[in-house]
Symmetry: C2
Subunit: 241 residues, 2 copies
Amino acid sequence: MQSQSKPHRTYQALRDQLAERIQNGVYSEYQKLPSERLLAEELDTTRLTLRDALFQLEIEGKVFRMDRRGWFISGRRLVFDPYLDKGFMTNVHEQGMTPDTKLLKLEEIKASSTLAKALKLAPGAGVYHLQRQRFINKRPVLVEDIYLDQSRFPGLRHTDINGSLSLVLKEVYSVSVAYSHIEITPVVFNALHAKQLQVSPGTPATLITRTSFDSQGLVVEYDKEYWVADILKIELATQSK
Amino acid sequence: MQSQSKPHRTYQALRDQLAERIQNGVYSEYQKLPSERLLAEELDTTRLTLRDALFQLEIEGKVFRMDRRGWFISGRRLVFDPYLDKGFMTNVHEQGMTPDTKLLKLEEIKASSTLAKALKLAPGAGVYHLQRQRFINKRPVLVEDIYLDQSRFPGLRHTDINGSLSLVLKEVYSVSVAYSHIEITPVVFNALHAKQLQVSPGTPATLITRTSFDSQGLVVEYDKEYWVADILKIELATQSK
DNA sequence: AAGTGGTCTAGACCACGTC
DNA sequence: ACGTGGTCTAGACCACTTG
């Protein structure tokens, strides 16, 4: 009926139709959808209109794309409590999923003015830049850039940091995080990060920026995590006031 | 230069170009952009490609739309600390902006099964449903649906609740919130909410779901807030561990 | 080699906001 | 009344993934 009455927003109706299919389990988690051309034909619409509907669902995190590979049904989300802020490895494990980490880059750079400000250093100071990619159940879900005061962690580059960085900092350098500032912002992946995560550029992402301090208020690390938006669920409890 | 080499992703370049303009203050906060047709011509592209670029910036919250009115440059964001979770009125005031509230609906309903679960009531129990629209500097920025146990707040409908609801609950019913559970999820506005906020359906939104408890662990209210995504900035600090 | 997703073209119509 | 944004059509080409 709705296809005959020519409503002036077909793609919203399409979105609802697809959302319902997902809700009803017509497609299962991580299943690949039929090709856009096929699906469009099946749903009696054009490719462009179908894509509009899929983009809506992508923003909501109900489907996700892998670049040039197609559309997939999103799976269970990882619950992230920014207040507790457990490490990635721990958090993923506790929720019955399998975490993995791959070091993409470890370099020594000079602090730009923004970076210096974040780390409370002088501009030009030596800084470690780590770039890591992290996986949940083999799916790449984030890339992160970590910046550390080089003078504070000498020889860091000769250390194995494929697991928990905070563990390394604690055991090797006796530095532990007391508290941190966290910011959560919606962004889209740029070309580089998109390629690393095998998603399309322009895919919605959640940026978590974290500045960690030790008990004396010194900056331990400055961290920018770019998450694929569909995997994350932010959930927290305030304490009694 | 880049416009002559025909790269295979023009809209990303466009996005960058526009983002740069915004960054450099070519447009000022809340300024309306030229019409899509004009802007497309100026930037030597088609309307559709321009829109793709604008959608990217919309997801990032750098521009926002008002339905059928056009595209606008986003302004300063409201910082929201889910852990402190001050009330809307207080929070907006403290950041030097002007809050407003409009009651859209106040009705008595029977709890659906999901609602009953959230409020820890029996299905079919009497529930107040409040719907409010809230403004920052006259711009509508959220609609919220609030649900309360009717038996616990008799006569609520005869009370003025255009300001702070928690204040009313405290002063009239001696009930105050001790802690709450908060969930933050990206969604898109449905047709109804979009209309109420004068945004286009499908606009990115941030859904904040809050369940508030009193000191005895009883549910005080269950609240779903749909925010225009560009206005919010989530920021918090963890306490010392 | 074939098919796919990503991108783009060059239009069109309509409902709505604005004047 | 006019122009705008929202939506849709009917194609096309290319780079890339997949078989």
